[in-house]
């Protein structure tokens, strides 16, 4: 092996070893998950209470001025009447989806049953979309934790669409000047003292608005009751004096989804079937942003490593160019 080759391999091995050490301790590279904001607002969605009426979808469209959606393959089937969006999209900020199995006989049962789920932004505590956005177009309110979008900042790179573990932010591909569409928890209504439109219209209290800490207690209260017991389900905003919806406590799966997933969210989901069946994936407790930001912050902390590397490169390049003065 000639000298140059040996030196090159030594160099390459050095680079590899240097990178392998931090890579091995990926866990150690993570920064901490971000904490829940002090006055975090959120929603408790109880799949067992949802009757699939989609009043929340219509109310959301009206409140946020987004158009009725009719996918091409359903357009002939009903002409301009029903909103037939199948999932959240550039035109649909929330929607109700249904899980079905076998004969679909009984609601909230895994075998031969069906169950509803509402899809919209979960307002993560440590959101990937906020972490990945290069121009601060996605921001998380430091007080109430609502994740908002600023179209004037957005360059449309769609990294938020790609990076969101729930596929929530959606770019309007059919518009020459498309924006990112996502639930912003009806901020404009909240400023007027109202509550998010979906929770406001929900007839059964399946979508319940409130403070995250209080919603968490409410979810735990429901889980602690015996199935079959009568229970007064609050509607609209938790703690308001709206008439309640009285019903029997269903057989819940003993998991409150949204508490710890990807570092926690501000939405809580209760369901009678496993949450994965409802398109709510099993996710780790560490936020994904905590790893990518951890690695990035380690490599680029104070720009010390890049500057040190630049110093070394300048020295070597200077030496090489001096030796070959006649070249360029």
């Amino acid at each position: 092996m000639d000298k140059s080759r040996r030196r090159f391999i030594q160099g390459a091995a050095g680079v590899a070893a240097g990178a392998a050490v931090p890579a091995q301790s990926a866990k150690a590279l993570r920064r901490e998950n971000k904490p829940l904001p002090p006055n975090a607002l959120g929603m408790l969605y109880d799949s067992t209470l949802c009757i699939g009426c989609r009043a929340c979808v219509t109310a959301c469209k009206e409140a946020n001025d987004v158009p009725v959606e009719q996918p091409a393959h359903l357009r002939d089937w009903n002409v301009g009447v029903w909103d037939t969006g199948e999932d959240i999209s550039g035109k649909t900020l929330n929607t109700i989806r249904v899980f079905t199995h076998g004969t679909k006989q009984q609601k909230d049962r895994e075998e031969n049953g069906y169950a509803f789920v509402k899809r919209h932004c979960l307002h993560c505590v440590d959101p990937s979309c906020v972490s990945v956005c290069p121009v601060s177009a996605m921001l998380k309110d430091p007080d109430n934790g609502i994740v908002t979008y600023d179209p004037d900042a957005c360059i449309g790179c769609r990294y938020c669409v790609y990076g969101c573990p729930f596929s929530v932010p959606q770019y309007q591909f059919d518009d020459a000047f498309g924006k990112i569409a996502k639930c912003e928890f009806c901020q404009h209504l909240q400023k007027k003292g109202q509550i998010p439109a979906c929770c406001d219209v929900c007839p059964t209290g399946a979508s319940l608005f409130g403070r995250v800490d209080e919603l968490q207690q409410e979810a735990e209260r429901r889980l602690s009751r015996t199935p079959g017991d009568r229970y007064e389900f609050p509607r609209g905003r938790l703690g308001d004096d709206r008439p309640t919806h009285e019903a029997a406590i269903p057989k819940y799966k003993p998991h409150v989804y949204g508490v710890s997933e990807v570092g926690g969210t501000q939405i809580r989901y209760l369901a009678g079937v496993p949450h994965e069946k409802l398109g709510l994936p099993k996710l780790p407790d560490d936020s994904y942003a905590s790893l990518s930001e951890g690695v990035q912050h380690t490599l680029y902390k104070g720009m010390i490593a890049p500057l040190a590397l630049l110093g070394g490169l300048i020295y070597l390049a200077r030496r090489a160019t001096k030796q070959h003065e006649d070249e360029d």
């Binding site: 770019y171 059919d174 994936p281 630049l310």
Partner: protein, 380 residues
């Protein structure tokens, strides 16, 4: 060390191949006009689950890796001080110039809100935790660096020897930046995926992503240098650079071998044996990728094979294919957004990508014919 003798090739510009590429580019312009009038959805198959398609993955992520020839050669010539490779430097830089400039251009027509592009440069919008922010600034800076690095060719062409001498005095700083910046953003193109978590198959999702992207980008840089040198010396009947290329090849071979070994070490450490052998598309694509990496590794490390021009050409082609496949796998194939979403590029979408590559080839031809880029013995 002999004096560098870069010369313009001269010759006719509007040749038949040139017009063919011009036609492909014209088709791309038509579809781009459609995109700007009616939105990204009118031309592409992008959707809510797959917001990034070939315009990002091929034009930008693979395109800039193809543009790493200048980076890879500068690393060898100026950092490892191997002056004997100098003749390959300028054409490699030219490839980088176009790979990056056009990759940067492709970003503009892929951006959904391109008119806000300059927000990346406004401090009050800056979001330094975003890997994309770092990539964007680094790539913009590197495009500038590439033009300065390449500018001696312009200055020679227009006889500005004075300016060239002045530039030479601080060129080593530019050269150092020309190594630092690609090191940063080519590895960051891997870091972009660190936030994907369970959305990316464990065959590709690893904390080593930044290193994998960096190593393969450097290897692809050498691949493009070998490919380009072979094509150009044959097409324009220039003296063969085979001797110097066969000296370069073990370096590239070892680089690839190190990458392949580390790749499996990482999969073993993470205990991801099962997904490698699952009866799934992901596993097949993984092994295809490994195979396409392994063949050039064997060729480049074999003293008998690397003296053959055909074998070297094949190795370079496969090396570039492997690096591209790795990027396609990591960004699209191994990515699973759920909800039944799928993506395959539309014909118009592919035509735009082909048009961008055609423009790159056309510009390359113009530059080597009109500017002193290649080492020639023919009188210009």
């Amino acid at each position: 060390m002999p004096q560098s003798t870069h010369q313009p090739l001269g010759g006719k510009l509007l040749t038949k191949p040139f017009l063919f590429f011009a036609l492909l580019f014209a088709i791309a312009v038509y579809f781009l006009a459609t995109r700007f009038m009616f939105g990204l959805g009118s031309v592409t198959n992008l959707n809510g689950g797959y917001p990034w398609g070939v315009w990002v993955v091929v034009d930008v992520i693979i395109g800039t890796a193809f543009g790493c020839g200048g980076f890879a050669m500068a690393l060898l010539v100026y950092i490892f001080n191997k002056g004997e490779y100098h003749p390959l430097m300028r054409p490699a830089l030219l490839g980088g110039l176009f790979g990056y400039t056009l990759g940067g251009m492709a970003v503009i027509f892929d951006l959904g809100r391109y008119w806000n592009f300059y927000n990346l440069l406004l401090p009050w919008y800056a979001q330094p935790s975003s890997v994309m922010f770092e990539v964007a600034l680094c790539v913009m800076a590197y495009i500038l660096v590439l033009w300065i690095e390449f500018s001696p060719a312009f200055l020679e062409r227009f006889g500005l020897t004075n300016a060239k001498q002045k530039l030479k005095r601080f060129l080593y700083i530019i050269i150092a930046l020309g190594v630092l910046l690609p090191t940063m953003h080519q590895s960051s193109l891997g870091s972009l995926l660190l936030v994907m978590g369970s959305q990316l198959s464990p065959l590709w999702y690893t904390a080593w992503l930044p290193l994998w992207f960096l190593l393969t980008a450097i290897a692809m840089g050498y691949g493009i240098v070998i490919l380009e040198s072979t094509l150009v010396t044959n097409a324009f009947r220039l003296p063969s650079e085979q001797r110097i290329l066969s000296k370069l090849s073990p370096i590239v071979g070892w680089l690839l071998a190190v990458f392949l070994v580390l790749r499996f070490v990482d999969l073993l450490i993470r205990g991801q044996i099962a997904p490698m052998f699952a009866a799934e598309m992901n596993a097949s694509m993984f092994w295809l990728e490994i195979l396409v990496f392994a063949i050039p590794t064997v060729i480049l490390l074999s003293p008998a094979r690397r003296t053959s021009q055909q074998q070297m050409f094949l190795a370079a082609l496969l090396l570039l294919a492997a690096g591209s496949l790795y990027r396609i796998n990591a960004y699209l194939v191994g990515y699973e957004p759920g909800n039944g979403w799928s993506y395959f590029p539309s014909a118009p979408e592919l035509m735009v990508t082909i048009g961008v590559i055609s423009l790159e080839i056309m510009l390359y031809l113009v530059f080597v014919k009109k500017l002193p880029v290649l080492h020639g013995t023919r009188p210009a």
